[in-house]
Symmetry: C2
Subunit: 241 residues, 2 copies
DNA sequence: AATCTTTCAATTGTCAGACATTTAAAAAAA
DNA sequence: TTTTTTTAAATGTCTGACAATTGAAAGATT
């Protein structure tokens, strides 16, 4: 693990060296890294520098640390659930920092979600369907705050995607749906007619129930069109002011 | 920026506080953070602790640091290009650490890529098409190493996805295509018939050229089926041994 | 012998202070 | 005005220390 490229910060070099070891399988899941003191010997740097390197890895969920005797840094088993949060954060920042226009984000979101329609129609379990129905019911409740409606919307679409029964797809779609949702709601809050959205959600749920992927796809297309229409209206209103 | 939750590591608390400030827009792109000395005063911790927090943020590409007078830590504009690398790394590790079977990964990959077909057929520029053709030519060259063929394969599919003209889609698909590609090649190397793959690539390029999204989709389906068939053969061979 | 309690040692977390290195800007010289 | 030198601010690194945590060993008790 000891060799390293030059001319970068030491903590970067060390973090890179250890990261490669993990990626290449020379360090396996749950294996304990040498202690900070040992690492600082091995790389000929001070302990603070080693620690900075370890913090870099910890920030990427590649390792976890434990104090005490028989403590130390351990290679972390990266879980989809853990990685989901980071992915959503990154996506959110990417969208907000890069002036991605709403149409582009929206198009990506629905394009990807539509891709799940055939699989979800085929494989959805009763659980997925029940979740979708429950969220639709929730969305119809009077006095539901905009935030709760938004959260329920996310939950509905997540159940839809999970219905495809492919964890890799679910993971990827988390970013598409959850990162874009806040942006979407920000723009379309004021204009949105909940009954319209609920009707389309119901249509999607019905299609999924009778395992009709094409119909689900068609409903998603209409939901996409409705969303973009709302965005257009909101933009016009903003211009007038 | 000073308040913070308790009972976690100090460097985690501080990193979280700053991260939230960035996400919520209280720190904007290219803005300079207080110096390490100032931060350690503000949070009442030592400088090494502040530094560990900053390294965590740097590992997520949220900040960059510069030495010297008028140096410091600056909020980083997260670029799609930067984020792509991290996403691929994370995806690769997720796949290798979670015993995702090949079929699942492959299904996710082609499902997402197929979703790009209509858009790519509609919007691809001459550049995208030229890249695809060039990669196909490269793939046909005698004496091309397996690694180079694999790289060319990735480049071909990337051009296809980029053809959709949606940076958000391109970003998301990077993980799907590039993280899964090595896994795919690992399994199908020995069995693969390059002429078969090249024929399908040509079919895709032709469809994209005449802007026929459906035909491109059909070709992708066949490429997917061929890939999975190869995987099945490879598995059987492995069992026999 | 078995179980509870205490002690101990290893390890990470935090701190203080120092020096090295880099860099832009100010000051001085040409 | 231009070039060179100096300077100060900031990050990068090191040393050495102490605090906090925790599993395990040692000891005490039943």
């Amino acid at each position: 693990m000891g060799e390293r490229k030059q001319s970068a910060d030491l903590s970067v070099e060390i973090a890179t060296a250890i990261r490669e070891a993990i990626i290449e399988g020379r360090l396996i899941v749950d294996e304990r890294l040498p202690s900070e003191a040992e690492l600082s010997e091995e790389f000929s740097v001070s302990r603070p520098t080693v620690r900075e390197a370890l913090k870099r890895l910890a920030a990427q969920n590649l390792i976890r640390t434990k104090r005490g005797a028989s403590g130390g840094a351990f290679v972390n088993r990266l879980s989809f659930e853990e990685a989901r949060g980071d992915l959503i954060t990154t996506s959110t920042l990417l969208l907000s920092m890069n002036e991605v226009d709403f149409d582009t984000a929206c198009e990506a979101r629905f394009t990807l979600e539509r891709a799940c329609a055939p699989l979800s129609a085929e494989r959805r379990t009763a659980d997925h369907l029940a979740t979708m129905r429950a969220e639709i019911t929730r969305q119809g409740q009077a006095g539901l705050s905009d935030e709760s409606f938004c959260a329920s919307d996310v939950a509905f679409h997540r159940a839809f995607v999970d219905g495809a029964g492919n964890p890799v797809l679910s993971w990827q779609l988390a970013a598409a749906v959850e990162a874009i949702e806040p942006l979407m709601n920000m723009i379309t809050y004021s204009q949105r007619d909940r009954t319209q959205v609920i009707a389309l959600h119901t249509e999607i749920a019905n299609a999924i129930e009778r395992q009709d992927g094409l119909a689900a796809d068609r409903a998603l297309i209409r939901l996409s069109a409705y969303t973009q229409e709302l965005a257009r209206k909101a933009m016009e209103l903003r211009k007038k002011r």
